[in-house]
């Protein structure tokens, strides 16, 4: 911990659709503590310099996923981005690839719809165990999908994804990783239900495997690897169905 201070110049993108034709940048000089994250500096602006600045944040502990922004061009969780790792001049913009709602707030409707679309819940063909009995799931079976449950929906991966930039119909990293999370959960029997969506041309096959999503993911979910595994799973599933092999669960 340190009490040293450092002055940062923040260039923050501003946009109010009620009065601005296009986004513009506003500069703020912020006296920062060396320990701060960039969100602290933005909060300083809001509290002391300009109360009109709009952005989302809440937990300040890397788990609510609200505060994703572009920091010097990188999709970043701002509560996890320490100023000690940044130069004296920092440019803050709303997440790339999303329409801007206001200042640093982006419109999330599309990705929220995509989360709906992949049916991210346990689907059963057989009845579940009795109400007081759990499904048996060994630590090994849990480990198969555990990392995929870590997604906080900060949407940094969509901001980094070159395919989503080109084609907004692409389901995209977080939603595909979420589908894969349920496909790999031994309690789930819905893999074949999700197949149509995932194997569609907007699904896994649209991914060009650049891996930018995994690089920016603050929770190390690795959606790129998930999508590659789904391509294999999807191909196997497709041929199983084609050849009339029942089941479809590994």
């Amino acid at each position: 911990m340190s009490t040293r201070t450092r002055t940062l110049e923040l260039e923050i993108m501003r946009y109010d659709p009620e009065k601005d034709k296009q986004p513009w940048f506003q500069s703020y000089t912020v006296p920062c503590l060396e320990d701060w994250v960039i969100l602290d500096a933005i909060n300083y602006v809001k509290e002391n310099l300009d109360t009109t600045l709009a952005y989302r944040w809440s937990c300040h502990m890397m788990v609510c996923g609200s505060c994703g922004m572009m920091v010097n061009g990188e999709p970043s969780l701002t509560c996890k981005t320490f100023i000690r790792e940044l130069p004296d001049k920092v440019r803050i913009e709303p997440l790339e690839n999303f329409p801007i709602e206001r200042d640093l707030v982006v419109v999330l409707d599309d990705v929220i719809q995509k989360l709906h679309k992949v049916q991210p819940y346990i689907i059963r063909k057989d009845p579940p165990p009795a109400g007081d009995q759990e499904y048996i799931q060994t630590p090994g079976q849990l480990a198969i999908f555990k990392q995929l449950t870590m997604c906080i929906n900060c949407m940094c991966c969509y901001a980094a994804c070159p395919q989503y930039a080109l084609d907004r119909n692409f389901i995209g990293p977080a939603a595909l990783a979420l589908a894969h999370r349920y496909n790999r959960d031994n309690r789930d029997q819905g893999k074949s239900d999700r197949l149509d969506i995932l194997a569609d041309h907007d699904g896994v096959w649209d991914c060009s495997f650049v891996g930018a999503c995994s690089e920016v993911c603050p929770k190390h979910v690795d959606p790129a690897a998930a999508i590659q595994q789904m391509k294999i799973d999807g191909a196997v599933e497709f041929w199983k169905q084609k050849m009339g092999i029942p089941g479809g669960k590994p």
Binding site: K46, A54, E101
Partner: protein, 586 residues
């Protein structure tokens, strides 16, 4: 103004709100649910809960023991009918979550694992590493997506309740992206907006925890109950107030002062237990109120470590080893490393008590019914009498599920019976008046006060005068200051005049809510002249069952301090006794 009709309106889409929404949708897909939240559901603060959720699991455990731990932990201010029902429903609710896909941590045989927690006599805390709340929230959110009858209104800020002839009839909210106002009409309104930690300067609670639901109910004439009971969690990171879960101690972490001494043994929680072999319900596994109070005494004695972010003690986890820490506590390891630069595998972590949870809230009974028909409350925003004077760690995540489900069943029955009851014109006029109030706030000039400045002053007073220890003069002063802040609030000016995502306006509305909640905390702290659980008075150091085995009820008065009334505590089978957290018990 837009107009939405529903059968049940739920305000707040965290763990409790989502659980209730699913329960309504499962019960009858024809019932229309409007789920209104100022944030997207997965941003809700349930996500920050780390340690786990309590429910009897092991063969060596019993409902009786969970009941006794909870009632004793709550210093006998719990309503025991609520506790009995809670412990009985808890395992089924946690198992339901398992069936919905919650990634609970597991034993080698594939069954759900449980861990030790403070004040609990048995291991009964279900956990998903140290992200239990996060996984519960996301499991509920994802599960909710399969129900078309749940209509979500994400990023709608609820302003005030609508009520007519003593019945709650709906709520008015503002859509953040457009600034448009919406009138939600429903016979049943469930408030599930969580806590109000932002009343204090140093809290584990996220920025959104501004007591909105509590304040709305309070303004509608519904009392807030037991608000003086504010839980300080003993292990927050200095500076940020980020929580280091009680699971750290459940897994075997120890607390030492600046001399390396395990000071808890000096505060009725000894004798010292062997390092690395935690013993349930004693030393580091004592309850949160006692641990935070012990810190206060150590600070007075000069045994704490000075840091620029306040005095600290040390949480030492090194003996757990890297493997266990990374398997069971990976999030807190990352957080401590990132925010204070300490790797808990190699070094002890500085920690200090931090405001964490409101035991008090909207006055409800076992079904989540408030005294106003049609208004229900669940989760942290409610005070059903479950937690009493001090909540045990891991009882609150379970409460989201138990109270969410039980309240939904009651609300459905109520909504079906109540139906539409007329008075549309009166309700519309009420909604218009609420909107006019917001428009006037947005337009008013003056600027004698700033939102951030007033908020800072409020927080300082609350911490100084209504913190871990309180007294008559301090709480009296705090009451007067909060009343003054409410007057001064009229002098704020909102610089942002936009209709689109106006967070300046939202902050002002949140500050109004914080001030409403603050005055109930300070008034309750003043009027409760005894020491019980999390409410400790330096001038009334003993529990006083003759005069104060009662709930505090704060009623709002428009231009005066709140009126306080008292209500009985329901005792079924556990008479008030001594809270013994020494290792010599039994």
């Amino acid at each position: 103004m837009e107009h939405i009709k529903a059968d049940v309106v739920i305000v707040g889409a965290g763990g409790a709100g989502l659980r209730a929404a699913i329960a309504v949708a499962e019960a009858d897909p024809k019932l229309k649910v409007a789920l209104v939240s100022k944030v997207y559901p997965m941003r809700s603060h349930t996500c920050a809960a780390e340690g786990g959720a309590a429910g009897v699991k092991g063969a060596d455990d019993s409902l009786e023991m969970h009941f006794n731990d909870t009632v004793g932990g709550g210093d006998w201010l719990c309503d025991q009918d609520v506790v009995e029902d809670f412990v009985q429903r808890a395992p089924r609710e946690l198992m339901q979550l398992e069936h919905w896909g919650c990634p609970w941590s597991r034993e080698d045989d594939g069954s759900v694992a449980v861990r030790a927690f403070g004040g609990m006599k048995k291991k009964r805390t279900w956990y998903a590493a140290d992200k239990s709340g996060f996984h519960i929230l996301h499991t509920l959110f994802q599960t909710s997506l399969q129900f078309p009858s749940i209509n979500r209104y994400d990023e709608y800020f609820a302003l005030d309740l609508l009520h007519l002839d003593g019945r709650c009839r709906g709520v008015v909210a503002m859509e953040m992206r457009s600034g448009r106002f919406f009138q939600f009409d429903a016979p049943a309104v469930i408030v599930a907006t969580g806590g109000a930690g932002q009343v204090f300067p140093f809290t584990t609670n996220g920025a959104i925890k501004t007591g909105d639901g509590m304040a709305m109910a309070y303004r509608a004439g519904v009392p807030l109950k037991d608000m003086e009971f504010v839980q300080y969690h003993p292990t927050g990171l200095p500076g940020t107030g980020i929580l280091l879960t009680e699971g750290c101690r459940g897994e075997g972490g120890i607390l030492v002062n600046k001399h390396g001494y395990r000071y808890l043994q000096d505060y009725g929680m000894g004798p010292e237990t062997p390092v690395g072999h935690p013993v349930l319900k004693t030393m580091e596994l004592g309850p949160r109120d006692r641990l935070s109070q012990a810190f206060w005494h150590e600070q007075k004695k000069g045994n704490t470590i000075e840091t620029p972010w306040g005095d600290c003690v040390l949480l030492d986890m090194r003996h757990l080893g890297a493997k266990k820490i990374m398997e069971r506590l990976p999030l807190v390891q990352e957080l401590a490393h990132a925010y204070v630069g300490v790797d808990m595998i190699k070094d002890p972590v500085p920690v200090r008590p931090v405001v964490h949870f409101m035991m008090g809230g909207i006055d409800t009974n076992i079904n989540g019914e408030s005294p106003m028909p049609g208004l229900f409350a669940i989760g942290e925003t409610a005070c059903s009498g479950l937690h009493g004077a001090n909540r045990l760690g891991s009882n609150s995540l379970t409460d989201l599920l138990v109270s969410g489900k039980r309240c939904a069943d009651t609300a459905i029955a109520y909504a079906q019976k109540a139906g539409a009851s007329g008075g549309d014109e009166a309700l519309r006029a009420q909604a218009e008046a609420i909107v006019t109030g917001v428009r006037e706030l947005l337009q008013q000039g003056g600027a004698t006060e700033t939102i951030a400045g007033l908020r800072r002053e409020m927080r300082t007073i609350l911490e100084d005068c209504a913190g871990i220890y309180r007294d008559e003069a301090g709480t009296q002063m705090a009451c007067e200051k909060v009343a003054e802040f409410r007057q001064r609030y009229k002098g704020i000016e909102i610089n942002d005049k936009s209709n689109v995502f106006n967070t300046d306006l939202q902050s002002a509305l949140e500050l109004r809510n914080l001030l409403d909640v603050a005055e109930t905390i300070t008034e309750g702290s003043l009027q409760r002249r005894e020491s019980r659980g999390a409410h400790q008075r330096l001038d009334y150091t003993e529990r006083d069952d003759v005069n104060f085995l009662k709930h505090t009820l704060c009623y709002r008065q428009p231009d005066a301090r709140p009126r306080v009334e008292w209500s009985e505590v329901l005792i079924t089978r556990s008479q008030p006794g001594t809270r013994d957290y020494s290792g010599s018990k039994n």
